[in-house]
Protein backbone atom coordinates (compact mmCIF):
# COMPACT_ATOMS: atom_id res chain seq x y z
CA UNK A 1 0.00 0.00 0.00
CA UNK A 2 1.44 3.34 -1.00
CA UNK A 3 1.68 6.26 1.39
CA UNK A 4 -1.05 8.07 -0.46
CA UNK A 5 -3.49 5.30 0.33
CA UNK A 6 -2.57 5.21 3.98
CA UNK A 7 -3.34 8.91 4.34
CA UNK A 8 -6.66 8.60 2.65
CA UNK A 9 -9.40 9.83 4.94
CA UNK A 10 -12.68 8.46 3.77
CA UNK A 11 -14.84 11.12 5.28
CA UNK A 12 -12.77 14.00 4.03
CA UNK A 13 -12.29 12.65 0.53
CA UNK A 14 -15.82 11.58 -0.10
CA UNK A 15 -17.16 15.02 0.83
CA UNK A 16 -19.71 13.68 3.26
CA UNK A 17 -21.10 15.78 6.02
CA UNK A 18 -22.48 14.92 9.35
CA UNK A 19 -26.17 15.65 9.40
CA UNK A 20 -27.12 18.15 12.03
CA UNK A 21 -30.63 17.58 13.15
CA UNK A 22 -32.65 19.19 15.85
CA UNK A 23 -34.86 16.87 17.81
CA UNK A 24 -36.53 19.93 19.06
CA UNK A 25 -38.83 20.78 21.86
CA UNK A 26 -41.82 19.97 19.71
CA UNK A 27 -41.30 16.39 18.64
CA UNK A 28 -43.48 13.40 19.35
CA UNK A 29 -40.78 11.73 21.39
CA UNK A 30 -39.49 14.61 23.49
CA UNK A 31 -42.37 14.72 25.92
CA UNK A 32 -41.52 17.08 28.74
CA UNK A 33 -40.06 19.41 26.13
CA UNK A 34 -36.37 18.81 25.81
CA UNK A 35 -34.22 19.67 22.89
CA UNK A 36 -31.62 17.30 21.57
CA UNK A 37 -29.13 18.78 19.24
CA UNK A 38 -27.85 15.81 17.29
CA UNK A 39 -25.01 15.28 14.89
CA UNK A 40 -25.67 12.16 12.91
CA UNK A 41 -23.36 10.07 10.79
CA UNK A 42 -25.98 8.22 8.79
CA UNK A 43 -28.04 6.76 11.56
CA UNK A 44 -25.39 6.82 14.27
CA UNK A 45 -25.36 9.63 16.77
CA UNK A 46 -21.97 11.24 16.89
CA UNK A 47 -22.80 14.01 19.31
CA UNK A 48 -25.83 14.77 21.39
CA UNK A 49 -26.34 17.97 23.29
CA UNK A 50 -29.31 18.19 25.61
CA UNK A 51 -31.06 21.42 26.29
CA UNK A 52 -33.70 21.79 28.98
CA UNK A 53 -35.48 24.71 30.54
CA UNK A 54 -38.52 24.91 28.29
CA UNK A 55 -40.79 24.37 31.25
CA UNK A 56 -39.02 26.57 33.76
CA UNK A 57 -41.69 28.40 35.72
CA UNK A 58 -39.71 29.75 38.64
CA UNK A 59 -40.80 27.29 41.32
CA UNK A 60 -38.33 28.54 43.88
CA UNK A 61 -39.11 32.18 43.37
CA UNK A 62 -42.83 31.50 43.67
CA UNK A 63 -42.36 29.56 46.88
CA UNK A 64 -40.28 32.33 48.40
CA UNK A 65 -43.10 34.75 47.83
CA UNK A 66 -45.89 32.82 49.42
CA UNK A 67 -46.43 31.19 52.75
CA UNK A 68 -45.32 27.69 53.65
CA UNK A 69 -48.76 26.30 52.92
CA UNK A 70 -49.09 28.11 49.64
CA UNK A 71 -46.18 26.14 48.26
CA UNK A 72 -48.23 22.95 48.04
CA UNK A 73 -49.83 23.59 44.63
CA UNK A 74 -46.38 24.41 43.30
CA UNK A 75 -44.99 21.16 44.55
CA UNK A 76 -47.85 19.34 42.83
CA UNK A 77 -46.64 20.64 39.54
CA UNK A 78 -43.09 19.44 39.96
CA UNK A 79 -43.34 15.78 39.12
CA UNK A 80 -46.89 16.05 37.93
CA UNK A 81 -47.23 12.34 37.36
CA UNK A 82 -46.79 11.56 41.02
CA UNK A 83 -47.86 14.79 42.60
CA UNK A 84 -48.66 13.49 46.06
CA UNK A 85 -45.11 12.30 46.57
CA UNK A 86 -43.82 15.82 46.14
CA UNK A 87 -46.46 17.08 48.57
CA UNK A 88 -45.40 14.52 51.15
CA UNK A 89 -41.71 15.23 50.70
CA UNK A 90 -42.22 18.96 51.19
CA UNK A 91 -44.53 18.51 54.16
CA UNK A 92 -42.13 16.15 55.86
CA UNK A 93 -39.23 18.52 55.37
CA UNK A 94 -41.16 21.38 56.95
CA UNK A 95 -42.22 19.11 59.78
CA UNK A 96 -38.61 18.11 60.29
CA UNK A 97 -37.64 21.77 60.41
CA UNK A 98 -40.37 22.45 62.94
CA UNK A 99 -39.43 19.42 64.99
CA UNK A 100 -42.95 17.96 64.98
CA UNK A 101 -42.29 14.99 62.72
CA UNK A 102 -42.93 12.38 65.40
CA UNK A 103 -46.24 13.90 66.49
CA UNK A 104 -47.99 12.69 63.36
CA UNK A 105 -50.89 10.37 64.29
CA UNK A 106 -50.91 6.79 63.03
CA UNK A 107 -53.71 7.21 60.59
CA UNK A 108 -52.00 10.18 59.01
CA UNK A 109 -48.82 8.18 58.47
CA UNK A 110 -50.81 5.35 56.90
CA UNK A 111 -52.66 7.68 54.56
CA UNK A 112 -49.45 9.31 53.44
CA UNK A 113 -47.84 5.96 52.70
CA UNK A 114 -50.85 4.70 50.76
CA UNK A 115 -51.16 7.83 48.66
CA UNK A 116 -47.44 7.91 47.95
CA UNK A 117 -47.57 4.39 46.64
CA UNK A 118 -50.58 5.19 44.46
CA UNK A 119 -48.67 8.11 43.02
CA UNK A 120 -45.73 5.84 42.34
CA UNK A 121 -47.98 3.40 40.53
CA UNK A 122 -49.49 6.13 38.40
CA UNK A 123 -46.06 7.43 37.46
CA UNK A 124 -44.77 4.01 36.49
CA UNK A 125 -47.89 3.27 34.45
CA UNK A 126 -47.42 6.51 32.58
CA UNK A 127 -43.75 5.93 31.98
CA UNK A 128 -44.03 2.35 30.80
CA UNK A 129 -47.07 3.13 28.70
CA UNK A 130 -45.30 6.00 27.00
CA UNK A 131 -42.28 3.80 26.37
CA UNK A 132 -44.50 1.22 24.69
CA UNK A 133 -46.23 3.94 22.68
CA UNK A 134 -43.02 5.33 21.34
CA UNK A 135 -41.79 1.94 20.36
CA UNK A 136 -44.93 1.37 18.35
CA UNK A 137 -46.87 -0.94 20.67
CA UNK A 138 -49.97 1.18 20.81
CA UNK A 139 -52.23 -1.40 22.38
CA UNK A 140 -49.95 -1.87 25.36
CA UNK A 141 -50.00 1.87 25.91
CA UNK A 142 -53.77 1.92 26.08
CA UNK A 143 -53.83 -0.91 28.60
CA UNK A 144 -51.62 0.98 31.00
CA UNK A 145 -53.46 4.20 30.40
CA UNK A 146 -56.61 2.41 31.50
CA UNK A 147 -54.82 1.14 34.60
CA UNK A 148 -53.65 4.65 35.32
CA UNK A 149 -57.17 6.01 34.92
CA UNK A 150 -58.39 3.63 37.58
CA UNK A 151 -55.63 4.71 39.96
CA UNK A 152 -56.50 8.31 39.23
CA UNK A 153 -60.11 7.53 40.06
CA UNK A 154 -58.97 6.50 43.52
CA UNK A 155 -56.82 9.60 43.94
CA UNK A 156 -59.73 11.70 42.77
CA UNK A 157 -62.07 10.14 45.30
CA UNK A 158 -59.58 11.03 48.02
CA UNK A 159 -58.56 14.54 47.17
CA UNK A 160 -60.74 15.70 44.33
CA UNK A 161 -58.16 15.96 41.58
CA UNK A 162 -56.59 13.28 39.43
CA UNK A 163 -53.24 14.85 38.96
CA UNK A 164 -52.54 18.01 40.89
CA UNK A 165 -53.72 16.73 44.19
CA UNK A 166 -52.83 19.48 46.69
CA UNK A 167 -53.80 17.01 49.38
CA UNK A 168 -51.08 17.03 52.02
CA UNK A 169 -50.70 19.86 54.47
CA UNK A 170 -48.00 20.69 56.94
CA UNK A 171 -48.87 18.55 59.91
CA UNK A 172 -51.56 16.54 58.22
CA UNK A 173 -53.93 16.34 55.32
CA UNK A 174 -56.61 18.40 53.71
CA UNK A 175 -59.30 15.79 54.29
CA UNK A 176 -59.83 12.21 55.33
CA UNK A 177 -60.18 9.16 53.13
CA UNK A 178 -63.64 8.60 51.65
CA UNK A 179 -65.96 5.82 52.75
CA UNK A 180 -65.66 2.54 50.87
CA UNK A 181 -62.05 3.33 50.18
CA UNK A 182 -60.98 -0.21 50.89
CA UNK A 183 -63.63 -1.75 48.65
CA UNK A 184 -62.80 0.66 45.85
CA UNK A 185 -59.11 -0.16 46.09
CA UNK A 186 -59.79 -3.88 45.99
CA UNK A 187 -61.91 -3.54 42.89
CA UNK A 188 -59.35 -1.41 41.12
CA UNK A 189 -56.53 -3.76 41.99
CA UNK A 190 -58.37 -6.72 40.49
CA UNK A 191 -58.66 -4.93 37.15
CA UNK A 192 -55.16 -3.52 37.34
CA UNK A 193 -53.66 -6.94 37.90
CA UNK A 194 -55.37 -8.20 34.74
CA UNK A 195 -54.13 -5.24 32.74
CA UNK A 196 -50.67 -5.75 34.14
CA UNK A 197 -50.73 -9.37 32.98
CA UNK A 198 -51.85 -8.31 29.51
CA UNK A 199 -49.13 -5.70 29.23
CA UNK A 200 -46.56 -8.16 30.48
CA UNK A 201 -47.58 -10.81 27.98
CA UNK A 202 -47.49 -8.33 25.13
CA UNK A 203 -44.07 -6.94 25.77
CA UNK A 204 -41.76 -8.57 28.27
CA UNK A 205 -40.92 -11.62 26.20
CA UNK A 206 -41.55 -10.01 22.84
CA UNK A 207 -38.51 -10.48 20.63
CA UNK A 208 -38.90 -7.13 18.92
CA UNK A 209 -39.27 -5.29 22.23
CA UNK A 210 -36.24 -7.07 23.62
CA UNK A 211 -34.21 -6.17 20.57
CA UNK A 212 -35.06 -2.51 21.03
CA UNK A 213 -34.43 -2.36 24.78
CA UNK A 214 -31.67 -4.85 25.55
CA UNK A 215 -28.19 -3.37 25.50
CA UNK A 216 -29.41 0.08 24.55
CA UNK A 217 -28.77 3.11 26.68
CA UNK A 218 -26.48 1.28 29.05
CA UNK A 219 -24.43 3.05 31.61
CA UNK A 220 -21.90 1.57 33.98
CA UNK A 221 -22.32 1.64 37.73
CA UNK A 222 -19.39 3.99 38.32
CA UNK A 223 -20.65 6.49 35.83
CA UNK A 224 -24.18 6.29 37.14
CA UNK A 225 -22.99 7.13 40.63
CA UNK A 226 -20.81 9.91 39.25
CA UNK A 227 -23.75 11.49 37.51
CA UNK A 228 -25.94 11.27 40.57
CA UNK A 229 -28.43 8.67 39.32
CA UNK A 230 -30.96 7.55 41.85
CA UNK A 231 -34.15 5.56 41.79
CA UNK A 232 -35.05 2.87 39.25
CA UNK A 233 -32.27 3.89 36.88
CA UNK A 234 -29.61 3.39 39.54
CA UNK A 235 -31.19 0.19 40.76
CA UNK A 236 -31.18 -1.10 37.19
CA UNK A 237 -27.39 -0.72 37.24
CA UNK A 238 -27.17 -3.01 40.21
CA UNK A 239 -26.91 -0.62 43.16
CA UNK A 240 -29.39 -1.42 45.90
CA UNK A 241 -30.11 2.13 46.98
CA UNK A 242 -33.67 2.92 47.91
CA UNK A 243 -34.35 5.73 50.35
CA UNK A 244 -37.25 3.75 51.77
CA UNK A 245 -34.73 1.17 52.93
CA UNK A 246 -31.70 3.35 53.64
CA UNK A 247 -33.42 6.08 55.62
CA UNK A 248 -36.92 4.77 56.27
CA UNK A 249 -39.67 7.26 56.70
CA UNK A 250 -43.43 6.93 57.10
CA UNK A 251 -44.38 3.28 57.34
CA UNK A 252 -41.69 1.73 55.22
CA UNK A 253 -39.75 0.05 57.97
CA UNK A 254 -42.86 -1.73 59.20
CA UNK A 255 -44.12 -3.03 55.90
CA UNK A 256 -42.95 -6.03 53.98
CA UNK A 257 -41.85 -5.29 50.43
CA UNK A 258 -39.01 -6.03 48.05
CA UNK A 259 -36.84 -3.60 46.19
CA UNK A 260 -36.10 -4.86 42.67
CA UNK A 261 -32.54 -4.50 41.48
CA UNK A 262 -31.28 -5.01 37.95
CA UNK A 263 -27.84 -5.89 36.73
CA UNK A 264 -26.84 -4.39 33.42
CA UNK A 265 -28.12 -0.84 33.55
CA UNK A 266 -29.65 -0.95 30.10
CA UNK A 267 -33.17 0.06 29.17
CA UNK A 268 -34.63 -3.38 29.59
CA UNK A 269 -33.49 -3.60 33.19
CA UNK A 270 -35.02 -0.21 33.90
CA UNK A 271 -38.24 -1.50 32.39
CA UNK A 272 -38.16 -4.64 34.53
CA UNK A 273 -37.38 -2.68 37.69
CA UNK A 274 -40.35 -0.40 37.12
CA UNK A 275 -42.68 -3.29 36.32
CA UNK A 276 -41.72 -5.03 39.53
CA UNK A 277 -42.07 -1.82 41.52
CA UNK A 278 -45.68 -1.55 40.41
CA UNK A 279 -46.36 -4.95 41.90
CA UNK A 280 -44.51 -4.09 45.09
CA UNK A 281 -46.50 -0.87 45.43
CA UNK A 282 -49.70 -2.84 45.19
CA UNK A 283 -48.35 -5.12 47.89
CA UNK A 284 -47.55 -2.18 50.18
CA UNK A 285 -50.97 -0.64 49.71
CA UNK A 286 -52.74 -3.89 50.41
CA UNK A 287 -50.82 -4.36 53.63
CA UNK A 288 -51.45 -0.80 54.70
CA UNK A 289 -55.18 -0.79 54.11
CA UNK A 290 -55.57 -4.03 56.00
CA UNK A 291 -54.21 -2.46 59.17
CA UNK A 292 -55.41 1.10 58.60
CA UNK A 293 -56.27 2.50 62.04
CA UNK A 294 -58.98 4.96 62.86
CA UNK A 295 -58.21 8.25 64.45
CA UNK A 296 -57.15 11.81 63.68
CA UNK A 297 -55.28 12.58 60.53
CA UNK A 298 -53.63 15.81 61.61
CA UNK A 299 -51.16 16.78 64.27
CA UNK A 300 -53.03 18.07 67.25
CA UNK A 301 -50.95 21.22 67.60
CA UNK A 302 -52.96 24.20 66.33
CA UNK A 303 -49.81 26.18 65.66
CA UNK A 304 -48.89 23.61 63.05
CA UNK A 305 -52.10 22.42 61.52
CA UNK A 306 -55.31 24.32 61.79
CA UNK A 307 -57.89 22.48 63.83
CA UNK A 308 -61.43 21.73 62.82
CA UNK A 309 -63.86 24.53 62.19
CA UNK A 310 -65.64 23.64 65.37
CA UNK A 311 -62.48 24.19 67.38
CA UNK A 312 -61.75 27.46 65.63
CA UNK A 313 -65.24 28.72 66.28
CA UNK A 314 -65.39 27.74 69.93
CA UNK A 315 -61.94 27.71 71.55
CA UNK A 316 -60.12 31.03 71.87
CA UNK A 317 -56.58 29.75 71.50
CA UNK A 318 -57.43 27.83 68.39
CA UNK A 319 -59.00 30.86 66.84
CA UNK A 320 -55.93 32.93 67.60
CA UNK A 321 -53.63 30.36 66.06
CA UNK A 322 -55.89 30.06 63.03
CA UNK A 323 -55.87 33.81 62.56
CA UNK A 324 -52.12 34.10 62.90
CA UNK A 325 -51.42 31.18 60.66
CA UNK A 326 -53.70 32.44 57.95
CA UNK A 327 -52.40 35.98 58.02
CA UNK A 328 -48.72 35.42 58.62
CA UNK A 329 -48.29 31.83 57.56
CA UNK A 330 -47.17 28.98 59.77
CA UNK A 331 -44.15 30.10 61.78
CA UNK A 332 -41.30 27.74 61.15
CA UNK A 333 -38.29 28.19 63.43
CA UNK A 334 -34.99 29.30 61.99
CA UNK A 335 -32.78 26.70 60.44
CA UNK A 336 -32.29 24.54 57.43
CA UNK A 337 -33.19 20.95 56.68
CA UNK A 338 -32.88 18.40 53.93
CA UNK A 339 -35.21 15.44 53.87
CA UNK A 340 -34.75 12.70 51.26
CA UNK A 341 -37.70 10.63 50.07
CA UNK A 342 -38.00 7.98 47.40
CA UNK A 343 -39.93 9.46 44.52
CA UNK A 344 -40.86 7.34 41.56
CA UNK A 345 -37.92 8.70 39.63
CA UNK A 346 -35.34 8.73 42.32
CA UNK A 347 -34.45 10.64 45.43
CA UNK A 348 -36.63 13.69 45.84
CA UNK A 349 -35.21 15.83 48.59
CA UNK A 350 -36.34 19.26 49.67
CA UNK A 351 -33.75 21.65 51.10
CA UNK A 352 -35.53 24.31 53.06
CA UNK A 353 -34.08 27.34 54.76
CA UNK A 354 -36.27 29.21 57.17
CA UNK A 355 -35.74 32.67 58.62
CA UNK A 356 -38.25 32.08 61.38
CA UNK A 357 -41.18 33.60 59.56
CA UNK A 358 -44.17 32.44 57.60
CA UNK A 359 -42.50 32.33 54.21
CA UNK A 360 -39.81 29.95 53.04
CA UNK A 361 -36.46 31.68 52.73
CA UNK A 362 -35.26 29.09 50.29
CA UNK A 363 -37.21 26.17 48.93
CA UNK A 364 -35.06 23.92 46.83
CA UNK A 365 -36.05 20.56 45.41
CA UNK A 366 -33.44 18.11 44.29
CA UNK A 367 -34.80 16.87 40.95
CA UNK A 368 -33.97 13.22 40.29
CA UNK A 369 -34.35 13.35 36.53
CA UNK A 370 -32.02 16.36 36.28
CA UNK A 371 -29.08 14.11 37.00
CA UNK A 372 -30.20 11.49 34.54
CA UNK A 373 -30.89 13.88 31.72
CA UNK A 374 -27.33 15.12 32.08
CA UNK A 375 -26.19 11.65 31.21
CA UNK A 376 -28.32 11.42 28.06
CA UNK A 377 -25.49 12.63 25.86
CA UNK A 378 -23.20 10.05 27.33
CA UNK A 379 -25.73 7.22 26.99
CA UNK A 380 -26.66 7.70 23.36
CA UNK A 381 -23.34 8.64 21.85
CA UNK A 382 -22.38 6.02 19.31
CA UNK A 383 -25.83 4.49 19.32
CA UNK A 384 -28.44 4.67 16.60
CA UNK A 385 -30.97 7.47 16.40
CA UNK A 386 -33.64 4.92 17.12
CA UNK A 387 -31.96 4.05 20.42
CA UNK A 388 -32.42 7.53 21.73
CA UNK A 389 -36.13 6.93 21.99
CA UNK A 390 -36.23 4.06 24.49
CA UNK A 391 -33.34 5.57 26.46
CA UNK A 392 -35.10 8.88 26.81
CA UNK A 393 -38.31 7.12 27.74
CA UNK A 394 -36.86 4.98 30.46
CA UNK A 395 -35.11 7.88 32.14
CA UNK A 396 -38.60 9.21 32.75
CA UNK A 397 -37.81 12.82 32.36
CA UNK A 398 -40.69 14.86 33.71
CA UNK A 399 -40.43 18.41 32.47
CA UNK A 400 -42.00 19.89 35.55
CA UNK A 401 -39.41 18.27 37.77
CA UNK A 402 -36.34 18.81 35.64
CA UNK A 403 -37.01 22.43 34.78
CA UNK A 404 -39.11 23.41 37.77
Amino acid sequence: MTDAKKDYDFHKESHTERMVINMGPSHPATHGTVRFFLKLDGEKIVHCETEIGYLHRGFEKHCENGSWTQAFPYTDRLNYNSAIQNNVAYAMTVEKLMGVADKMPERGVYIRTIMCEFARMADHYTNLGAAALELGALTAFIYFVEARELVWDIIESVCGARLTSNYIRIGGHASDLPENFKAHVKKVFATNRELYEDFDKLLTKNRIFLDRMRDTGSISVEEAIQYGFTGPCLRACGVEYDVRRAQPYLLYDQLDFDVPVGSTGDNFDRYLVRMEEIRQSMRIIEQAIETLPEGPINIADPAVRQPSKEGVNTVMEMMIFHFKNEIEGIQVPRGEAYFPTEGSNGEVGFYLVSDGGGKPYKCRVRPPCFAMTQAMGRMVEGAFLADLIPTFDMINLIGGECDR
Binding site: I52, T230, R245, Y252, D253, Y351
Partner: protein, 187 residues
Amino acid sequence: MKSDSAPAGGARSGDATSGPPLAIVIEKYADTGVVIHTHRLHGDETVVVHAEDILDVMNFLRKDDRLNFDMMMDLTAVDYLDNQNLNPYLAEMNARFEVVYHLYSIGKNHRIRVKAPLAEDNLFINSITGIWGGADWFEREAFDMYGIVFRGHPNLKRILLYEKFEGHPLRKDYPKTKRQPLIGPRN
Protein backbone atom coordinates in the same frame (compact mmCIF):
# COMPACT_ATOMS: atom_id res chain seq x y z
CA MET B 1 -32.60 -9.40 38.41
CA LYS B 2 -32.60 -10.00 42.10
CA SER B 3 -34.94 -8.67 44.74
CA ASP B 4 -33.65 -7.18 47.90
CA SER B 5 -35.52 -8.10 51.06
CA ALA B 6 -32.96 -6.80 53.51
CA PRO B 7 -34.47 -5.58 56.76
CA ALA B 8 -35.06 -1.89 56.96
CA GLY B 9 -32.86 0.62 58.71
CA GLY B 10 -29.31 -0.16 57.78
CA ALA B 11 -26.48 1.95 59.09
CA ARG B 12 -28.09 5.33 59.40
CA SER B 13 -25.18 7.50 60.29
CA GLY B 14 -22.11 5.42 59.72
CA ASP B 15 -21.34 1.94 60.92
CA ALA B 16 -19.53 1.11 64.12
CA THR B 17 -16.01 1.45 62.80
CA SER B 18 -16.39 5.06 61.75
CA GLY B 19 -17.90 7.86 63.73
CA PRO B 20 -20.34 10.36 62.36
CA PRO B 21 -18.81 12.11 59.38
CA LEU B 22 -18.76 15.51 61.01
CA ALA B 23 -16.41 14.33 63.74
CA ILE B 24 -14.00 12.93 61.19
CA VAL B 25 -14.00 16.16 59.20
CA ILE B 26 -13.47 18.28 62.30
CA GLU B 27 -10.62 16.04 63.34
CA LYS B 28 -8.94 16.25 59.95
CA TYR B 29 -9.13 20.01 59.62
CA ALA B 30 -8.69 20.74 63.33
CA ASP B 31 -6.22 23.60 63.30
CA THR B 32 -6.04 24.48 59.66
CA GLY B 33 -8.65 27.21 59.59
CA VAL B 34 -10.40 25.60 56.68
CA VAL B 35 -13.54 24.91 58.64
CA ILE B 36 -15.44 28.01 59.67
CA HIS B 37 -18.37 26.47 61.46
CA THR B 38 -20.10 23.16 62.02
CA HIS B 39 -23.47 22.28 63.43
CA ARG B 40 -25.90 19.46 63.73
CA LEU B 41 -29.52 20.41 63.35
CA HIS B 42 -32.48 18.04 63.25
CA GLY B 43 -30.11 15.17 62.53
CA ASP B 44 -28.39 16.90 59.58
CA GLU B 45 -24.68 17.53 59.87
CA THR B 46 -23.31 20.65 58.28
CA VAL B 47 -19.76 21.90 57.84
CA VAL B 48 -18.99 25.36 56.54
CA VAL B 49 -15.63 25.78 54.84
CA HIS B 50 -13.76 28.52 53.07
CA ALA B 51 -14.51 28.69 49.37
CA GLU B 52 -10.83 28.50 48.39
CA ASP B 53 -10.46 25.13 50.10
CA ILE B 54 -13.51 23.54 48.57
CA LEU B 55 -11.62 21.23 46.24
CA ASP B 56 -9.42 19.95 49.02
CA VAL B 57 -12.37 19.30 51.30
CA MET B 58 -14.41 17.60 48.56
CA ASN B 59 -11.53 15.38 47.59
CA PHE B 60 -11.07 14.37 51.18
CA LEU B 61 -14.75 13.67 51.62
CA ARG B 62 -14.83 11.57 48.52
CA LYS B 63 -11.70 9.58 48.95
CA ASP B 64 -11.35 8.99 52.67
CA ASP B 65 -12.16 5.39 53.53
CA ARG B 66 -14.16 6.21 56.58
CA LEU B 67 -16.31 8.75 54.74
CA ASN B 68 -16.61 7.53 51.16
CA PHE B 69 -19.03 10.15 49.90
CA ASP B 70 -19.44 8.77 46.41
CA MET B 71 -22.58 10.65 45.46
CA MET B 72 -23.07 14.34 45.11
CA MET B 73 -26.77 14.68 45.61
CA ASP B 74 -27.42 18.35 45.26
CA LEU B 75 -25.65 21.61 44.65
CA THR B 76 -27.38 24.90 45.14
CA ALA B 77 -26.83 28.36 46.52
CA VAL B 78 -28.61 30.65 48.95
CA ASP B 79 -28.71 34.43 48.90
CA TYR B 80 -28.55 35.96 52.36
CA LEU B 81 -28.84 39.59 51.33
CA ASP B 82 -29.76 41.63 54.44
CA ASN B 83 -30.39 38.41 56.34
CA GLN B 84 -26.91 37.57 57.40
CA ASN B 85 -28.07 37.14 60.97
CA LEU B 86 -29.40 33.74 59.94
CA ASN B 87 -25.86 32.43 59.92
CA PRO B 88 -23.57 34.42 62.26
CA TYR B 89 -20.32 33.82 60.38
CA LEU B 90 -21.73 35.46 57.27
CA ALA B 91 -21.60 38.92 58.76
CA GLU B 92 -18.00 38.45 59.86
CA MET B 93 -16.95 37.37 56.39
CA ASN B 94 -19.20 39.92 54.70
CA ALA B 95 -20.53 37.08 52.62
CA ARG B 96 -23.80 37.35 50.80
CA PHE B 97 -24.10 33.99 49.10
CA GLU B 98 -23.53 30.48 50.24
CA VAL B 99 -22.98 27.52 47.98
CA VAL B 100 -24.56 24.42 49.50
CA TYR B 101 -23.51 20.88 48.64
CA HIS B 102 -25.30 17.76 49.78
CA LEU B 103 -23.26 14.58 49.73
CA TYR B 104 -24.28 11.00 50.32
CA SER B 105 -22.37 7.78 50.74
CA ILE B 106 -24.09 4.69 49.41
CA GLY B 107 -21.76 2.28 51.14
CA LYS B 108 -21.74 3.96 54.53
CA ASN B 109 -25.26 5.41 54.28
CA HIS B 110 -24.45 8.77 55.79
CA ARG B 111 -24.93 12.31 54.60
CA ILE B 112 -23.24 15.62 55.06
CA ARG B 113 -23.93 19.15 54.00
CA VAL B 114 -21.01 21.35 52.96
CA LYS B 115 -21.43 25.07 52.69
CA ALA B 116 -19.08 27.69 51.31
CA PRO B 117 -19.83 31.39 51.83
CA LEU B 118 -19.04 33.82 49.05
CA ALA B 119 -18.83 37.58 49.10
CA GLU B 120 -20.69 39.56 46.51
CA ASP B 121 -17.57 41.02 44.94
CA ASN B 122 -15.79 37.67 44.76
CA LEU B 123 -18.33 35.26 43.37
CA PHE B 124 -15.83 32.66 42.30
CA ILE B 125 -15.48 29.13 43.50
CA ASN B 126 -13.75 26.14 42.06
CA SER B 127 -15.87 23.72 40.12
CA ILE B 128 -16.11 20.18 41.44
CA THR B 129 -16.87 18.66 38.05
CA GLY B 130 -13.46 17.07 38.22
CA ILE B 131 -14.53 15.07 41.25
CA TRP B 132 -18.16 14.35 40.40
CA GLY B 133 -18.99 14.66 36.70
CA GLY B 134 -22.62 15.06 37.61
CA ALA B 135 -22.02 18.45 39.18
CA ASP B 136 -21.94 19.90 35.68
CA TRP B 137 -25.59 20.85 35.29
CA PHE B 138 -26.10 21.67 38.97
CA GLU B 139 -23.33 24.26 38.78
CA ARG B 140 -24.76 25.67 35.60
CA GLU B 141 -28.05 26.12 37.37
CA ALA B 142 -26.40 27.89 40.31
CA PHE B 143 -24.69 30.18 37.84
CA ASP B 144 -27.92 30.76 35.98
CA MET B 145 -29.95 31.58 39.06
CA TYR B 146 -27.41 33.36 41.26
CA GLY B 147 -24.50 34.38 39.06
CA ILE B 148 -21.87 32.35 40.88
CA VAL B 149 -18.96 31.59 38.58
CA PHE B 150 -17.46 28.14 38.90
CA ARG B 151 -13.83 28.20 37.86
CA GLY B 152 -12.81 25.30 35.71
CA HIS B 153 -16.30 24.37 34.62
CA PRO B 154 -16.23 22.96 31.07
CA ASN B 155 -19.34 24.70 29.81
CA LEU B 156 -20.60 27.42 32.13
CA LYS B 157 -23.63 28.88 30.44
CA ARG B 158 -27.24 29.28 31.34
CA ILE B 159 -29.25 26.14 31.53
CA LEU B 160 -32.83 26.84 32.54
CA LEU B 161 -33.13 30.31 31.10
CA TYR B 162 -32.41 31.61 27.64
CA GLU B 163 -29.07 33.17 26.79
CA LYS B 164 -30.31 36.71 26.44
CA PHE B 165 -31.89 36.71 29.89
CA GLU B 166 -30.60 39.58 31.94
CA GLY B 167 -29.95 39.19 35.60
CA HIS B 168 -29.99 36.32 38.01
CA PRO B 169 -33.54 35.68 39.10
CA LEU B 170 -33.16 33.87 42.41
CA ARG B 171 -31.22 36.69 43.98
CA LYS B 172 -33.24 38.46 46.61
CA ASP B 173 -32.93 41.80 44.88
CA TYR B 174 -34.43 40.52 41.65
CA PRO B 175 -38.06 41.58 41.92
CA LYS B 176 -40.67 38.98 41.18
CA THR B 177 -42.47 41.20 38.71
CA LYS B 178 -39.50 42.33 36.67
CA ARG B 179 -40.05 42.18 32.90
CA GLN B 180 -37.26 41.16 30.60
CA PRO B 181 -36.42 43.26 27.52
CA LEU B 182 -37.12 40.40 25.13
CA ILE B 183 -40.54 39.85 26.62
CA GLY B 184 -41.61 43.46 26.81
CA PRO B 185 -44.04 45.22 29.14
CA ARG B 186 -47.27 43.75 30.39
CA ASN B 187 -49.47 45.59 27.94
